[in-house]
């Protein structure tokens, strides 16, 4: 498996697209900047929803309003992140694909997306349970603290990809 990934990386790094990204000096910094701007959108939206779940913000307005207002932005930002992330991976495949921190980051993204999608679905099916205060406060708190912790770890992983050794 590792061998196949390594061969794929070497093939990808030698494709014309990858070589263009590698040789034009402004592409990687600009794509990384767009990537970070999309991260700011996720952070703002996650913070707004999780702080509402914890009862810190949005007094007098239901949780279901906060999820309708903010969660769609997370999905739009994730599409931008996937796109820009793919460009960065195409430029330096081994730096990402043969890197344990990158793999942890991807696994955590899958987990948090699943949890967020399930939460969004649960709220849309039963908005009454997600009013100004949640019907199940402990569930809401666990969800808020859990997703915040995962997103913070994802951001830390994102920065650490650049510092750990890769294949």
């Amino acid at each position: 498996m590792e061998h196949a990934i390594a061969s794929f990386c070497d093939w990808l790094a030698n494709t014309p697209v990858s070589m263009v990204i590698q040789s034009v000096s402004w592409i990687i910094p600009m794509v990384q900047s767009v990537h970070i701007m999309a991260v700011t959108v996720v952070v703002g939206a996650v913070l707004a929803v999780d702080m509402k779940l914890l009862g810190v913000v949005g007094r007098g307005s239901p949780i279901s309003a906060a999820t309708r207002r903010f969660l769609p932005w997370i999905w739009v930002a994730l599409v931008v992140l996937l796109l820009t992330g793919s460009i960065l991976t195409a430029a330096e495949p081994r730096r990402e694909l043969i890197n344990n921190v990158f793999r942890l980051k991807m696994a955590l993204i899958l987990v948090v997306c699943t949890v967020t999608g399930a939460f969004q679905l649960a709220v849309s099916r039963n908005a009454a349970a997600w009013g100004d205060t949640p019907s199940n406060q402990w569930q809401a708190r666990l969800l808020a603290i859990g997703t915040l912790a995962i997103w913070i770890t994802i951001i830390f992983c994102g920065r650490w990809i650049a510092y750990v050794e890769h294949g």
Partner: protein, 163 residues
């Protein structure tokens, strides 16, 4: 003068530690990214409300009261961690063009915020809750988004000029 201060900061035990330790810089930088994205993310929410594009079911005062404490808390920590990173190679950062542009753009964002606060936001009760936000508020919000996007580009650019 500036270079003398930079040299002194860089020569402190702390500056030396950030620059020579293999883990100090990445950990502090990760915290800086987390705080910076919180600053820009929460400001974006307020700016989009000022542009009258989103959160219209809540007033501008409600949205900014909810978000700005996070903005200020995160900004303080971003400035602190940024200062720590600066100390690692202060003499190189002060003469670095992207770093200088980043500081300049943050100053512009600050001036924009002060002008907005005293000219428009002070009278928020008069216009909040109306169908549209004042033109001056929209201009301030648009400039704010532009400045903070530039800060991000400059910040990332620094990583390619100072190594």
């Amino acid at each position: 003068m500036l270079l003398t201060i930079a040299q002194w900061l860089q020569d402190t035990a702390f500056g030396q530690w950030v620059s020579t330790s293999s883990v100090a810089f990445p950990w502090i930088e990760s915290c800086h990214v987390l705080c910076m994205t919180t600053v820009v993310g929460t400001i974006t929410i307020v700016d989009l409300r000022l542009l009258n594009l989103t959160s219209r079911q809540r007033t501008v005062a409600q949205v900014s009261n909810d978000m700005l404490p996070f903005t200020w808390g995160a900004f303080a920590l971003a400035a602190l961690t940024g200062g720590m990173l600066f100390m690692s190679k202060a003499t190189e950062y002060v003469v670095d063009l992207p770093f200088q542009l980043k500081m300049l753009t943050m100053a512009l964002a600050g001036i924009n915020m002060v002008i907005f606060h005293f000219m428009v936001f002070k009278r928020v009760a008069e216009w909040d809750g109306k169908a549209d936000t004042p033109r001056a508020a929209k201009i301030a919000a648009g400039l704010s988004l532009l400045f903070w996007a530039t800060v991000i580009v400059c910040g990332r650019w620094i990583g390619f000029t100072v190594r």
